[in-house]
Subunit: 221 residues, 2 copies
Protein backbone atom coordinates (compact mmCIF):
# COMPACT_ATOMS: atom_id res chain seq x y z
CA UNK A 1 0.00 0.00 0.00
CA UNK A 2 1.32 3.42 -0.92
CA UNK A 3 2.18 5.82 1.88
CA UNK A 4 0.96 9.35 2.46
CA UNK A 5 2.51 12.60 1.35
CA UNK A 6 2.89 14.98 4.30
CA UNK A 7 4.80 17.92 5.63
CA UNK A 8 5.67 18.82 9.21
CA UNK A 9 7.05 22.22 10.15
CA UNK A 10 7.42 24.61 13.06
CA UNK A 11 5.40 27.80 12.61
CA UNK A 12 5.29 31.04 14.60
CA UNK A 13 1.86 31.99 15.95
CA UNK A 14 1.73 34.65 13.22
CA UNK A 15 2.31 32.10 10.48
CA UNK A 16 6.03 32.24 9.65
CA UNK A 17 8.30 29.25 9.07
CA UNK A 18 11.51 31.25 8.68
CA UNK A 19 12.75 34.72 9.60
CA UNK A 20 13.18 37.40 6.94
CA UNK A 21 15.95 36.22 4.55
CA UNK A 22 19.40 37.68 5.11
CA UNK A 23 21.17 39.15 2.03
CA UNK A 24 23.33 36.35 0.64
CA UNK A 25 21.28 33.84 2.55
CA UNK A 26 24.06 31.48 3.63
CA UNK A 27 23.49 31.96 7.36
CA UNK A 28 25.27 28.73 8.25
CA UNK A 29 28.44 29.44 6.25
CA UNK A 30 31.67 29.61 8.30
CA UNK A 31 32.37 33.09 9.68
CA UNK A 32 28.92 34.39 8.80
CA UNK A 33 27.77 34.30 12.43
CA UNK A 34 29.67 37.54 13.16
CA UNK A 35 27.21 39.47 10.98
CA UNK A 36 24.53 41.06 13.23
CA UNK A 37 21.79 40.34 10.67
CA UNK A 38 22.79 36.69 10.56
CA UNK A 39 22.89 36.55 14.35
CA UNK A 40 19.35 37.97 14.48
CA UNK A 41 18.17 35.43 11.84
CA UNK A 42 19.69 32.55 13.82
CA UNK A 43 18.22 33.79 17.13
CA UNK A 44 14.72 33.90 15.62
CA UNK A 45 15.15 30.54 13.91
CA UNK A 46 16.31 29.00 17.20
CA UNK A 47 13.21 30.38 18.94
CA UNK A 48 11.03 28.67 16.37
CA UNK A 49 12.86 25.35 16.58
CA UNK A 50 13.66 25.44 20.28
CA UNK A 51 11.27 22.61 21.10
CA UNK A 52 13.43 20.24 19.02
CA UNK A 53 16.98 20.80 20.26
CA UNK A 54 16.65 19.35 23.78
CA UNK A 55 15.00 16.13 22.57
CA UNK A 56 16.61 12.75 23.00
CA UNK A 57 15.67 11.86 19.42
CA UNK A 58 17.32 15.02 18.04
CA UNK A 59 20.55 14.32 19.92
CA UNK A 60 20.55 10.66 18.88
CA UNK A 61 19.82 11.39 15.22
CA UNK A 62 22.61 13.96 14.92
CA UNK A 63 24.97 11.91 17.12
CA UNK A 64 25.29 14.73 19.65
CA UNK A 65 25.61 12.26 22.49
CA UNK A 66 23.54 10.55 25.14
CA UNK A 67 20.66 12.01 27.09
CA UNK A 68 18.01 14.51 26.12
CA UNK A 69 14.35 14.91 26.96
CA UNK A 70 11.73 12.24 26.49
CA UNK A 71 7.97 12.75 26.44
CA UNK A 72 5.37 13.74 23.87
CA UNK A 73 7.57 16.15 21.85
CA UNK A 74 10.22 13.48 21.59
CA UNK A 75 7.69 10.82 20.56
CA UNK A 76 6.31 13.12 17.86
CA UNK A 77 9.77 13.90 16.49
CA UNK A 78 10.64 10.20 16.41
CA UNK A 79 7.32 9.17 14.80
CA UNK A 80 7.78 11.84 12.11
CA UNK A 81 11.23 10.44 11.35
CA UNK A 82 10.16 6.80 11.40
CA UNK A 83 7.17 7.21 9.07
CA UNK A 84 9.36 8.91 6.44
CA UNK A 85 10.67 6.64 3.67
CA UNK A 86 11.93 9.49 1.47
CA UNK A 87 11.99 13.29 1.56
CA UNK A 88 11.56 15.98 -1.08
CA UNK A 89 13.14 19.40 -0.67
CA UNK A 90 13.68 22.59 -2.62
CA UNK A 91 17.06 23.81 -3.86
CA UNK A 92 17.36 26.60 -1.33
CA UNK A 93 16.77 24.29 1.63
CA UNK A 94 19.38 21.92 0.23
CA UNK A 95 21.90 24.74 -0.22
CA UNK A 96 21.42 25.88 3.39
CA UNK A 97 21.58 22.33 4.68
CA UNK A 98 24.69 21.45 2.69
CA UNK A 99 26.47 24.00 4.91
CA UNK A 100 24.96 22.93 8.20
CA UNK A 101 24.26 19.19 8.19
CA UNK A 102 27.00 17.00 9.61
CA UNK A 103 28.61 14.54 7.13
CA UNK A 104 26.09 11.97 8.37
CA UNK A 105 23.04 13.99 7.25
CA UNK A 106 19.93 13.52 9.44
CA UNK A 107 17.61 11.92 6.84
CA UNK A 108 18.96 8.36 6.57
CA UNK A 109 16.80 7.82 3.46
CA UNK A 110 16.77 9.02 -0.15
CA UNK A 111 16.18 12.78 -0.50
CA UNK A 112 14.86 14.18 -3.79
CA UNK A 113 16.06 17.75 -4.41
CA UNK A 114 13.94 19.81 -6.84
CA UNK A 115 16.41 21.96 -8.77
CA UNK A 116 17.27 23.41 -12.18
CA UNK A 117 20.92 22.23 -12.09
CA UNK A 118 21.81 18.68 -12.99
CA UNK A 119 24.10 16.96 -10.52
CA UNK A 120 25.10 13.37 -9.80
CA UNK A 121 23.55 11.67 -6.76
CA UNK A 122 25.41 12.57 -3.56
CA UNK A 123 25.71 9.67 -1.18
CA UNK A 124 26.39 10.46 2.49
CA UNK A 125 27.41 8.08 5.27
CA UNK A 126 24.46 6.81 7.29
CA UNK A 127 22.04 6.13 4.46
CA UNK A 128 21.17 9.58 3.12
CA UNK A 129 21.50 9.95 -0.66
CA UNK A 130 20.55 13.23 -2.35
CA UNK A 131 19.11 12.84 -5.86
CA UNK A 132 18.76 15.97 -7.99
CA UNK A 133 15.56 16.16 -10.04
CA UNK A 134 15.35 18.73 -12.82
CA UNK A 135 11.99 17.91 -14.40
CA UNK A 136 9.58 19.33 -11.85
CA UNK A 137 7.83 18.67 -8.57
CA UNK A 138 5.62 15.84 -9.82
CA UNK A 139 8.55 13.78 -11.06
CA UNK A 140 10.42 14.41 -7.82
CA UNK A 141 7.38 13.14 -5.91
CA UNK A 142 7.05 10.06 -8.15
CA UNK A 143 10.65 9.15 -7.43
CA UNK A 144 10.18 9.79 -3.72
CA UNK A 145 7.10 7.57 -3.61
CA UNK A 146 8.98 4.78 -5.31
CA UNK A 147 11.93 5.14 -2.93
CA UNK A 148 9.65 5.27 0.13
CA UNK A 149 7.87 1.98 -0.61
CA UNK A 150 5.05 1.62 1.90
CA UNK A 151 6.38 4.38 4.13
CA UNK A 152 5.37 8.06 3.77
CA UNK A 153 6.94 10.84 1.73
CA UNK A 154 7.81 14.01 3.61
CA UNK A 155 7.90 17.34 1.80
CA UNK A 156 10.73 18.64 3.96
CA UNK A 157 10.73 22.29 2.85
CA UNK A 158 11.35 25.11 2.45
CA UNK A 159 8.11 27.02 2.64
CA UNK A 160 7.81 27.72 -1.08
CA UNK A 161 8.32 24.09 -2.04
CA UNK A 162 5.73 22.98 0.51
CA UNK A 163 3.25 25.48 -0.92
CA UNK A 164 3.84 24.29 -4.49
CA UNK A 165 2.93 20.75 -3.45
CA UNK A 166 -0.04 21.89 -1.37
CA UNK A 167 -1.48 24.02 -4.19
CA UNK A 168 -0.94 21.20 -6.69
CA UNK A 169 -3.19 18.98 -4.55
CA UNK A 170 -0.35 16.56 -3.81
CA UNK A 171 -0.33 16.75 0.01
CA UNK A 172 -2.49 14.31 2.00
CA UNK A 173 -1.79 15.56 5.50
CA UNK A 174 0.32 18.04 7.42
CA UNK A 175 1.41 19.00 10.92
CA UNK A 176 2.41 22.39 12.25
CA UNK A 177 4.12 22.83 15.58
CA UNK A 178 2.78 26.25 16.58
CA UNK A 179 5.53 27.96 18.58
CA UNK A 180 4.80 30.69 21.18
CA UNK A 181 6.60 33.37 19.22
CA UNK A 182 5.72 36.26 16.90
CA UNK A 183 8.04 37.07 13.97
CA UNK A 184 6.22 40.02 12.37
CA UNK A 185 8.10 39.35 9.11
CA UNK A 186 9.72 36.46 7.27
CA UNK A 187 8.61 33.54 5.12
CA UNK A 188 4.93 32.76 5.62
CA UNK A 189 3.96 29.08 5.35
CA UNK A 190 0.66 29.76 3.59
CA UNK A 191 1.60 32.82 1.48
CA UNK A 192 -0.15 32.40 -1.86
CA UNK A 193 -2.15 29.34 -0.80
CA UNK A 194 -5.03 28.44 -3.13
CA UNK A 195 -7.46 28.69 -0.20
CA UNK A 196 -10.62 28.31 -2.25
CA UNK A 197 -9.69 24.74 -3.24
CA UNK A 198 -8.45 23.43 0.11
CA UNK A 199 -10.57 21.98 2.91
CA UNK A 200 -8.84 21.05 6.15
CA UNK A 201 -10.03 18.27 8.40
CA UNK A 202 -8.63 18.38 11.94
CA UNK A 203 -6.96 15.05 12.71
CA UNK A 204 -5.13 15.63 15.98
CA UNK A 205 -4.03 18.37 18.37
CA UNK A 206 -1.22 17.69 20.82
CA UNK A 207 -0.36 20.57 23.11
CA UNK A 208 2.98 20.09 24.84
CA UNK A 209 4.91 22.32 27.20
CA UNK A 210 6.72 24.13 24.39
CA UNK A 211 4.45 24.06 21.30
CA UNK A 212 1.08 22.89 20.04
CA UNK A 213 1.20 20.20 17.37
CA UNK A 214 -1.77 20.53 15.00
CA UNK A 215 -2.40 17.88 12.34
CA UNK A 216 -4.85 18.25 9.43
CA UNK A 217 -5.91 16.05 6.52
CA UNK A 218 -6.13 17.97 3.24
CA UNK A 219 -9.13 17.62 0.93
CA UNK A 220 -9.96 19.40 -2.35
CA UNK A 221 -13.13 21.25 -3.18
Amino acid sequence: MAGKVFFSVSMSLDGFVAPEPVPGGDVFAPGKQDDPQVRRWLAQWMELQQWIFPLRFFRENLKLGEGGEEGRDNDIARETFERTGASVMGRRMFDLGEQSWPPEAPFHTPVLVVTHSKRDPWERPGGTTFHFVTDGIEHALDQAREAAGDRDVRIAGGGETILQYLNAGLVDEFSVAVAPVLFGAGTRLFEGVDASRIVLEPVRADPTQRVTHLTYAVHRR
Copy 2:
Protein backbone atom coordinates in the same frame (compact mmCIF):
# COMPACT_ATOMS: atom_id res chain seq x y z
CA MET B 1 -7.73 44.01 42.67
CA ALA B 2 -7.70 45.23 39.09
CA GLY B 3 -8.59 42.78 36.36
CA LYS B 4 -6.61 41.79 33.30
CA VAL B 5 -6.75 43.23 29.80
CA PHE B 6 -7.25 40.48 27.24
CA PHE B 7 -8.52 39.70 23.79
CA SER B 8 -10.08 36.52 22.46
CA VAL B 9 -10.62 35.95 18.75
CA SER B 10 -11.09 33.20 16.17
CA MET B 11 -8.19 32.97 13.72
CA SER B 12 -7.72 30.96 10.55
CA LEU B 13 -4.69 28.65 10.52
CA ASP B 14 -3.01 31.16 8.19
CA GLY B 15 -3.51 34.00 10.65
CA PHE B 16 -6.62 35.87 9.50
CA VAL B 17 -9.41 37.17 11.76
CA ALA B 18 -11.64 38.43 8.94
CA PRO B 19 -12.02 37.84 5.20
CA GLU B 20 -10.89 40.44 2.70
CA PRO B 21 -13.06 43.57 3.19
CA VAL B 22 -15.95 44.02 0.77
CA PRO B 23 -16.24 47.44 -0.93
CA GLY B 24 -18.61 49.49 1.21
CA GLY B 25 -18.04 47.10 4.08
CA ASP B 26 -21.56 46.93 5.49
CA VAL B 27 -21.98 43.20 4.94
CA PHE B 28 -24.81 42.95 7.48
CA ALA B 29 -26.92 45.78 6.01
CA PRO B 30 -30.41 44.76 4.80
CA GLY B 31 -30.45 43.56 1.18
CA LYS B 32 -26.64 43.35 0.98
CA GLN B 33 -26.68 39.56 1.16
CA ASP B 34 -27.67 39.32 -2.51
CA ASP B 35 -24.24 40.65 -3.52
CA PRO B 36 -21.98 37.67 -4.43
CA GLN B 37 -18.94 39.35 -2.80
CA VAL B 38 -20.89 39.83 0.41
CA ARG B 39 -22.12 36.23 0.28
CA ARG B 40 -18.52 35.04 -0.07
CA TRP B 41 -17.42 37.27 2.86
CA LEU B 42 -20.21 35.90 5.05
CA ALA B 43 -19.46 32.29 4.07
CA GLN B 44 -15.80 32.69 5.06
CA TRP B 45 -16.67 34.52 8.26
CA MET B 46 -19.13 31.77 9.18
CA GLU B 47 -16.40 29.15 8.63
CA LEU B 48 -14.15 31.01 11.06
CA GLN B 49 -16.85 31.44 13.70
CA GLN B 50 -18.64 28.12 13.14
CA TRP B 51 -17.50 26.70 16.48
CA ILE B 52 -19.57 29.38 18.27
CA PHE B 53 -23.00 29.24 16.63
CA PRO B 54 -24.15 25.80 17.88
CA LEU B 55 -23.22 26.55 21.50
CA ARG B 56 -25.81 26.69 24.24
CA PHE B 57 -24.18 29.85 25.59
CA PHE B 58 -24.37 31.59 22.20
CA ARG B 59 -28.07 30.77 21.82
CA GLU B 60 -28.82 31.83 25.38
CA ASN B 61 -26.89 35.11 25.14
CA LEU B 62 -28.60 36.15 21.91
CA LYS B 63 -32.00 34.79 23.05
CA LEU B 64 -32.18 32.40 20.11
CA GLY B 65 -34.02 29.83 22.17
CA GLU B 66 -33.39 26.73 24.24
CA GLY B 67 -30.90 23.98 23.54
CA GLY B 68 -27.47 24.10 21.98
CA GLU B 69 -24.26 22.19 22.57
CA GLU B 70 -22.51 21.95 25.91
CA GLY B 71 -18.92 20.86 26.48
CA ARG B 72 -15.52 22.53 26.44
CA ASP B 73 -16.23 25.06 23.65
CA ASN B 74 -19.36 26.15 25.47
CA ASP B 75 -17.52 26.45 28.79
CA ILE B 76 -14.81 28.57 27.17
CA ALA B 77 -17.35 30.89 25.51
CA ARG B 78 -19.21 31.30 28.80
CA GLU B 79 -16.02 31.87 30.85
CA THR B 80 -14.88 34.52 28.34
CA PHE B 81 -18.21 36.28 28.73
CA GLU B 82 -18.31 36.02 32.52
CA ARG B 83 -14.80 37.35 33.13
CA THR B 84 -15.55 40.47 31.06
CA GLY B 85 -16.61 43.55 33.03
CA ALA B 86 -16.29 45.95 30.10
CA SER B 87 -15.26 45.79 26.42
CA VAL B 88 -13.33 48.13 24.15
CA MET B 89 -13.89 48.13 20.41
CA GLY B 90 -12.89 50.09 17.33
CA ARG B 91 -15.27 52.23 15.31
CA ARG B 92 -15.46 49.84 12.36
CA MET B 93 -16.44 46.88 14.55
CA PHE B 94 -19.10 49.06 16.16
CA ASP B 95 -20.46 50.16 12.76
CA LEU B 96 -20.73 46.53 11.59
CA GLY B 97 -22.28 45.45 14.87
CA GLU B 98 -24.79 48.27 14.95
CA GLN B 99 -26.32 46.64 11.87
CA SER B 100 -26.20 43.06 13.09
CA TRP B 101 -26.65 42.96 16.88
CA PRO B 102 -30.19 42.43 18.09
CA PRO B 103 -31.66 45.33 20.16
CA GLU B 104 -30.46 43.47 23.23
CA ALA B 105 -26.77 43.59 22.25
CA PRO B 106 -24.70 40.61 23.44
CA PHE B 107 -22.30 42.46 25.80
CA HIS B 108 -24.50 43.17 28.84
CA THR B 109 -21.78 45.52 30.18
CA PRO B 110 -20.37 48.94 29.26
CA VAL B 111 -18.63 49.02 25.87
CA LEU B 112 -16.08 51.74 25.11
CA VAL B 113 -15.95 52.60 21.40
CA VAL B 114 -12.72 54.24 20.19
CA THR B 115 -13.78 56.77 17.55
CA HIS B 116 -13.17 60.25 16.15
CA SER B 117 -16.86 61.27 16.22
CA LYS B 118 -18.45 62.46 19.45
CA ARG B 119 -21.76 60.82 20.27
CA ASP B 120 -23.91 60.51 23.39
CA PRO B 121 -23.89 57.19 25.24
CA TRP B 122 -26.22 54.65 23.65
CA GLU B 123 -28.02 52.52 26.18
CA ARG B 124 -29.49 49.22 25.00
CA PRO B 125 -31.92 46.92 26.80
CA GLY B 126 -30.18 44.13 28.73
CA GLY B 127 -27.35 46.17 30.24
CA THR B 128 -25.14 47.10 27.26
CA THR B 129 -24.25 50.79 27.07
CA PHE B 130 -21.96 52.06 24.32
CA HIS B 131 -19.75 55.00 25.32
CA PHE B 132 -17.89 56.84 22.57
CA VAL B 133 -14.33 57.85 23.43
CA THR B 134 -12.61 60.40 21.19
CA ASP B 135 -9.32 60.94 23.05
CA GLY B 136 -7.44 57.77 22.20
CA ILE B 137 -6.97 54.12 23.13
CA GLU B 138 -5.43 54.74 26.56
CA HIS B 139 -8.35 56.84 27.77
CA ALA B 140 -10.80 54.27 26.42
CA LEU B 141 -8.95 51.58 28.38
CA ASP B 142 -8.90 53.70 31.56
CA GLN B 143 -12.67 54.09 31.35
CA ALA B 144 -13.11 50.39 30.63
CA ARG B 145 -10.98 49.43 33.65
CA GLU B 146 -13.04 51.66 35.87
CA ALA B 147 -16.29 50.25 34.53
CA ALA B 148 -15.05 46.66 34.86
CA GLY B 149 -14.20 46.90 38.56
CA ASP B 150 -12.43 43.70 39.54
CA ARG B 151 -13.47 41.89 36.39
CA ASP B 152 -11.37 41.86 33.18
CA VAL B 153 -11.42 44.21 30.21
CA ARG B 154 -11.82 42.60 26.80
CA ILE B 155 -10.42 44.28 23.72
CA ALA B 156 -13.23 43.02 21.52
CA GLY B 157 -11.86 44.00 18.09
CA GLY B 158 -11.48 44.52 15.26
CA GLY B 159 -8.03 43.31 14.34
CA GLU B 160 -6.49 46.77 14.01
CA THR B 161 -7.73 47.92 17.39
CA ILE B 162 -6.43 44.75 19.02
CA LEU B 163 -3.03 45.33 17.43
CA GLN B 164 -2.88 48.94 18.65
CA TYR B 165 -3.39 47.77 22.22
CA LEU B 166 -0.94 44.88 21.82
CA ASN B 167 1.80 47.11 20.38
CA ALA B 168 1.20 49.71 23.10
CA GLY B 169 2.00 47.06 25.71
CA LEU B 170 -1.51 47.23 27.17
CA VAL B 171 -2.57 43.58 26.73
CA ASP B 172 -1.88 41.10 29.55
CA GLU B 173 -3.16 37.94 27.96
CA PHE B 174 -4.92 36.68 24.85
CA SER B 175 -6.62 33.63 23.39
CA VAL B 176 -6.94 32.57 19.78
CA ALA B 177 -9.34 29.88 18.66
CA VAL B 178 -7.40 28.43 15.70
CA ALA B 179 -9.97 27.29 13.15
CA PRO B 180 -9.24 24.53 10.59
CA VAL B 181 -9.56 26.85 7.62
CA LEU B 182 -7.24 28.77 5.27
CA PHE B 183 -8.29 32.22 4.02
CA GLY B 184 -5.32 33.16 1.83
CA ALA B 185 -6.31 36.85 2.14
CA GLY B 186 -8.09 39.16 4.56
CA THR B 187 -7.31 40.95 7.81
CA ARG B 188 -4.32 39.41 9.59
CA LEU B 189 -4.43 39.46 13.38
CA PHE B 190 -0.72 40.17 13.78
CA GLU B 191 -0.07 42.39 10.73
CA GLY B 192 2.36 45.08 11.86
CA VAL B 193 3.00 43.54 15.28
CA ASP B 194 6.03 44.94 17.11
CA ALA B 195 7.47 41.43 17.38
CA SER B 196 10.85 42.46 18.78
CA ARG B 197 9.24 43.78 22.00
CA ILE B 198 6.76 40.96 22.68
CA VAL B 199 7.46 37.70 24.49
CA LEU B 200 4.68 35.12 24.68
CA GLU B 201 4.32 32.68 27.53
CA PRO B 202 2.05 29.71 26.79
CA VAL B 203 -0.66 29.55 29.45
CA ARG B 204 -3.10 26.94 28.17
CA ALA B 205 -4.00 24.92 25.08
CA ASP B 206 -7.46 23.41 24.75
CA PRO B 207 -8.08 21.40 21.61
CA THR B 208 -11.76 20.75 21.01
CA GLN B 209 -13.56 19.02 18.18
CA ARG B 210 -13.85 22.18 16.10
CA VAL B 211 -10.91 24.47 17.01
CA THR B 212 -7.81 24.72 19.18
CA HIS B 213 -7.94 27.38 21.89
CA LEU B 214 -4.46 28.76 22.58
CA THR B 215 -3.89 31.19 25.46
CA TYR B 216 -0.71 33.23 26.01
CA ALA B 217 0.46 35.75 28.59
CA VAL B 218 2.17 38.77 27.02
CA HIS B 219 5.44 40.12 28.37
CA ARG B 220 7.65 42.98 27.13
CA ARG B 221 11.33 42.82 26.33
